[in-house]
Amino acid sequence: MKLQFNQDDEIFRREIASWLEENLSGEFAPLKFRGGPGDEHMFPEERKRWEQRLAEGGWTCVGWPKQYGGRGLTIEQQVIFYEEYARAGAPGRMGHIGDGLAGPTIIAFGSDEQKARYLPGILSGREFWCQGYSEPGAGSDLANVKTKARFDEAAGKWLISGQKVWTSLAHESDYCFVIARTDPDSQAHKGLGFFLVKMDQPGITVRPIEQITGTSEFNEVFFDDAECGAEDIVGAPGDGWKVAMGLLGYERGVSTLGQQMAFQNEFDEVVALARDNGAAKQPAIRQRIAQAHIGLKLMRYNSMRMLSGDKGDGSLQREALIYKLYWATWHRELGELAMDILGPEADILAAPPYELNRLQSLFLFTRSDTIYGGTNEIQRNIIAERGLGMPREKRW
């Protein structure tokens, strides 16, 4: 067990840090610290150009194997990449879903044809993805997916119908990966398919959801016989659950450390505020600030354990299982702390009619953290059932 990075890694750290410093300038300077959660709807075009700049530097898809055009970084280097990216305040990644989810899924489960077709657009920062997972009636319960895909033999295509919800940046995306039921009589985890669907087609309608923040970055996506080529299903019909579960693994990957560095930026802002407005002298606030700091450090240590694959007592699975519940709750509390440090000033907006300041946005937006991608309650069920072997909830 050791904490230090080796010398090569430290050299690598300086490389990415200086690349970012050099490139986050000029037209990209205004993007600093923008486009994160709660701010994802801002500067989409500029951030797409930024993705291309990243690609030119070889900084997209850094964890993909070299054979697929990735940079093939080690775990340590990926950690460093994400940390430095966030530390520099580089903007929220428009390419995140393609780079971190769609790409790795296609590499793991896709056909050669799919790899050839889709990976280059992700690598070059020119094609953007969104995910079609949650449904209005199903929440984050994939087993309850109602969206249907039927194969039209005549046209040789899949036709997808149904509704997805909580789809980030759907209106800015070129493709969506969609979980849909290929066998209409199937139940639960059986009979699902995993589809790669072009967004720009008549069968798809995107409707932004107006959020608690007054802004919209989540969407509802309606599929009405949306077309998907026969060649664009990942795996076979019925493999959807397996593919989706693999994908969930990627969500808890190295990018968590980048997320934490973004949290660190937010936390630093909260601390600076408390110092400025004198709240840092209030004992109760001091305790909460310390608690937030402790929570963030522990989040980092936990991720490091997760990434180091400590299987000491079968616990890789265990520390990964708690991760979503932990960070979502921590982040939500940070938002509350920020407001309580602001005190009555928490209620005063940056500008009329409804422009939130960054901390207000944090406060409101983090309410979604404990809801999307499996609510805290679902997470606790999962932990108890998969982590502790307790009985599953009965369906009525």
């Binding site: 199903a138 309850n144 959020q211 009555p344 907006l349 309410r367 999307y372």
Partner: protein
């Protein structure tokens, strides 16, 4: 001892419920909050003209209904429940109480009379997050028959629209509580500028008020307007705010229970999940205890108001107990309601967020829970 509404009190509470359910609907609230004024002037007229709520605890001598603070609290509870957008808190909880605590007979007759007639008013006293005596930073100087005021106020509820204001200021150069005095002034005059502040909670307006050599006649000084009167006023207002919070808590609970009964997941109403049931049970616990807190505080307030000299610890304690419980509990209920509503709770379309934002904003007004707990600790331990 009889710790239950009398029949008359119950009637007032019930009619408020009926009226507000019909008038302060989601659509009405959303319409009001998008206006600059922040409320529906016509509804305010009905409230004053038909129901006479603005005069509820003003003594009959001054044209009021002469009812007790229990009725006041019962109304605030229903207003909080239905998120009423109106200058009621500012006019009744702040200005009326200030006048009752600090005005001379003539001042009460004049200004309470105006309130009975439908005038709006508010109280401005702090410019910082400090709700204690140190928060009063505006100052005044006596110049012959005039008084000149300077300074700035923030977080002035309905400060942008109130027709007259009670201002707290301290005599220039005096940093003792004894230097603090209250003045009553009309809003539209030279030397007084006001600026509405955009707020996250759009159901209640706040303003900045700047005084630049504001000259008022000596008669504007409230006869008994010292720090004790201001403190008592703030305690009375704190109880009203807690009552709003208690009302909101109940509504959040009701909305949430209804939603979880309708919403199905895993082929069951989510209300059947024990985690949901237990959260709802905790919401109900908080809500019931909140009600006990505000009714007790209402009785204490009534005693304090009845006795002109009662600046005792009872009112301070009751107010701090009510606010410390209700502030945290209301936010907890709002947060749980949002969580239990899942995705839709996060949307602008559903009303949960209106309560959620109101809960956070009210939590900080007039002192948050820690602040009030420290008040209690000081009484017990120092």
């Amino acid at each position: 001892m009889d710790f239950a509404f009398t029949d008359e009190q119950q009637m007032i509470r019930d009619s408020a419920e009926t009226f507000l359910k019909a008038t302060s609907t989601s659509a009405a609230v959303r319409a009001a909050m998008s206006t600059e004024l922040g409320y529906d002037a016509e509804l305010w007229q009905r409230l004053c003209g038909e129901l006479y709520w603005q005069a509820i605890h003003i003594p009959e001598t001054y044209g009021g209904l002469g009812l007790s603070y229990v009725e006041v609290v019962a109304l605030f509870e229903q207003m909080g429940r239905f998120l009423l957008c109106a200058p009621y808190f500012s006019t009744v909880a702040l200005a009326t109480n200030a006048l009752l605590c600090a005005g001379s007979e003539a001042q009460k007759a004049d200004y309470l009379g105006r309130i009975c007639a439908g005038s709006t008013a508010t109280l401005a006293f702090t410019r910082s997050r400090d709700w204690s005596v140190e928060g009063v930073s505006a100052d005044f100087q006596r110049r012959g028959d005039e008084v000149v005021l300077n300074g700035e106020y923030r977080y002035v509820i309905d400060g942008h629209s109130a027709e007259f204001l009670i201002l707290a200021a301290r005599e220039q150069g005096c940093d003792q509580p004894s230097g603090i005095r209250l003045f009553v002034v009309t809003a539209e005059q030279a030397g007084l500028e006001r600026q509405v502040l955009p707020t996250m909670d759009q159901t209640r307006r706040q303003a900045n008020i700047s005084l630049n050599n504001l000259c008022v006649p000596a008669s504007a000084e409230l006869e008994h307007g010292d720090w004790q009167a201001l403190e008592k006023t703030l305690q009375l207002a704190t109880i009203a705010l807690a009552a709003e919070q208690a009302g909101a808590m109940q509504q959040l609970l009701d909305m949430t229970v209804a939603y979880t009964q309708e919403r199905h997941q895993f082929n069951r109403p989510i209300a059947s999940f024990q985690a949901i049931k237990h959260k709802a049970a905790d919401m109900m616990l908080r809500s019931e205890v909140a009600r006990s807190a505000i009714y007790y505080a209402a009785c204490t307030a009534d005693t304090a108001l009845g006795d002109g000299n009662a600046f005792g610890a009872d009112l301070a304690e009751a107010a701090s107990i009510a606010k410390s419980w209700c502030s945290e509990s209301c936010f907890s209920n709002a947060a749980e309601a949002l969580q239990m509503h899942g995705g839709v709770g996060f949307t602008w379309e559903y009303d949960v967020h209106l309560y959620f934002k109101r809960a956070k904003a009210s939590e900080h007004l007039l002192g948050d829970s820690s602040w009030h707990r420290e008040n209690i600790a000081a009484m017990l331990l120092d």
